[in-house]
Symmetry: D2
Subunit: 157 residues, 4 copies
C-alpha cells in the first residue's frame, strides 16, 4: 500500500492547475464549440475568453445571456477543479450589466471566495475588450468522489 502511494505523481499547485485544465479542456466539447480560449489558469482561479459570433446573438441583437453565463461557468469550472478533486456546479447566479455585441471579446475571470468541506463559492466577472463590466457571476460548487487525472496528487508541504 505504501508502494502504491509512492507511485502517485506529485505536482506543485501551479502545475497541478495547468494539468487539470488540460484534462478538462480535452473533453469540454461545449467550451470548444463556443470558441472559448483559456487565457490564464492557476490554483483557485481561471480566465477564459470568447468572441461573440453572429450565432450567439438573441432576438434583441445582443449576446444570448446563456452564452455569457456559459463563459463564466466554464471559468468557474476550471477554477474549482484545479486540484484534481472532481467538482461540479450546484448553482449559479448571474447579473447582466451591459449587453455584449457581435464581435466583442468577452473575458471571464473566476476566483475562489470560499471552500470548506465539499462546497465552495466562486465569483467571476465578465468584461468586454474595452474593460466594461458585462456581467457578475457567482457559482456554488460541490465536490464529488473522483479525480480528473488518475494517480496524480498535490505536492505535500
Amino acid at each position: 500500500m505504501s508502494e502504491e502511494k509512492a507511485a502517485a505523481e506529485q505536482l506543485p499547485p501551479a502545475e497541478m492547475a495547468r494539468r487539470c485544465a488540460e484534462a478538462m479542456w480535452r473533453d469540454d466539447h461545449a467550451s470548444q464549440a463556443l470558441g472559448m480560449r483559456i487565457e490564464d489558469i492557476g490554483p483557485r482561479y481561471a480566465s477564459l475568453s470568447m468572441t461573440i459570433r453572429r450565432d450567439m446573438l438573441n432576438g434583441h441583437a445582443s449576446c444570448h445571456g446563456g452564452l455569457i453565463f456559459a463563459l463564466a461557468d466554464s471559468a468557474f469550472a476550471f477554477a474549482c477543479n484545479w486540484s484534481n478533486r472532481l467538482t461540479v456546479a450546484s448553482s449559479g447566479t448571474i447579473e447582466f450589466l451591459a449587453p455584449g455585441r457581435e464581435g466583442d471579446v468577452l473575458t471571464a475571470t473566476a476566483q475562489e471566495r470560499s471552500r470548506a468541506g465539499r462546497t465552495g463559492v466562486y465569483d467571476a466577472t465578465v468584461c468586454n475588450q474595452a474593460g466594461d463590466l458585462v456581467a457578475l457571476f457567482r457559482g456554488r460548487s460541490y465536490t464529488v468522489p473522483g479525480e480528473l487525472i488518475p494517480g496524480v496528487e498535490l505536492t505535500e508541504n
Copy 2:
C-alpha cells in the same frame, strides 16, 4: 391622434404572445443554433425544448451548465416578452439538480411569478424526457422602452 390610435393593430393575448414569439425567434440566432424548439407559447409563459448534442458536453461528459441555463433563459425571454413590451433579463439564478446526458431532450417551461412596473420575476423548470427535474431557474426581467412589433398592441378589454 385618435386616428393614429385607430391605426394600431389590436391582438388578443394568446395571439399577441404567438406573434411576439415569432418576431423574437426570427432573430434569435443563438436559440436556433442550439437547436431549440418552441413547444408552447402564451401570455406569461413559454416552453422550449433542446436535444443535448455532443458539442454541448462539458469536461465531465454532461451537458454544459451554461447551455442548460441558455435553454431556461430563452424560455424566460419568450415568457416575459409576450405582450410586445421590450423586456430584457437583468439577472438569473439556476440550480443544477441532475446532469443532462448526450441525446437527452430537455424541456424548459417558464412562467411569470410577478410583474410590477418595469420589473418581473419568472420561474422555469428544466426536465428531461423522463420527466426528471434537471434544473430550477429564476429570472428577473426589466422592461425597457421599445416594442418587438411596431404598431401592435393588446386588445383593450
Copy 3:
C-alpha cells in the same frame, strides 16, 4: 446491536415532522423573539407567520428585508429538518415584490423542490393577510452529521 436498533423510537412522517419542529422551536430564540408562529408543519414543508411590529420597520417605513428573509428562512429550516437529519442553510435568495407594512401579518410557506444526497432546494412564498405576494424565496440546504432528536427515526416502510 439489533437490540440497540430495537430501542430506537420509530415515527411516521407526519409525526416525525411535528416532533422535529418542536425540538427546533424550543431553542429557536430568534424566531420566537420575532414573534413567529408555526401555522402548519409536515414532511418537506412548513408554514410560519409573523406580525410586522414597529421595531421591524426600516428607514423607508416598511418591513426590513432581513426580517422578511428571516421568516422565509425559518419556514425553510423547519421544512428541511423534518426527518431528523440535521440540515443547515448553505444559501438563500429572496425577491422583494411588495412592501410589508406595520401590522401586516406575513405568512411564509416553504416546500421542498429537490433533495439528493446532502443537498436540497426549497422554495418559499411570503404573503400578507390579503394574500398579496410579498416575497419569493429559494434556499439551498446542506445536511450535516447529527440528529435533532437522538434515537428517533422514521418508520420503515
Copy 4:
C-alpha cells in the same frame, strides 16, 4: 423656479453620504432594535456591525441566517441610498459560509459593483471579530422617485 433651485442645499459626496445615513438611521427601527452600529459610511459603501445576542440564535445554536442577512441588507441599504435618491432592494442572495456564535461581533461591508439607470448591484461581505468570512451577500437595488432629505442635492462638478 430658478430661485427654488438656488435654495437647494448642495453637499459634496462624503457629506451627502453621511447626511443620508443619518436620515435613514433615525427611522430604521429594525437595525436599531438588532443593535446594529454604523462603523463607516461613504459614497457607494457602508460598513455596519452587530453583536450576536442570545435572542438571535436559531434552533442549531448559531445566529439565525435571517439576521446575518439583515445586517448585510442594512449595509447594502446605506450604500445604495448614499446620494439622496430613494432606493430599495429588489432582491438579495446570501451564501452562509461559517456559523455566527453568541457574542460574536459581525461586520458587514457593502460596496457598489454597478449602477446604471434605476438598477444597481452591491456586494457585501460579513466577517466576525477574528476576520473569518461568515457570509457573502449580493443585492440588487431599484431606485424609485423620491428623496431621503428634501431639497438637498450633490455638489455639481
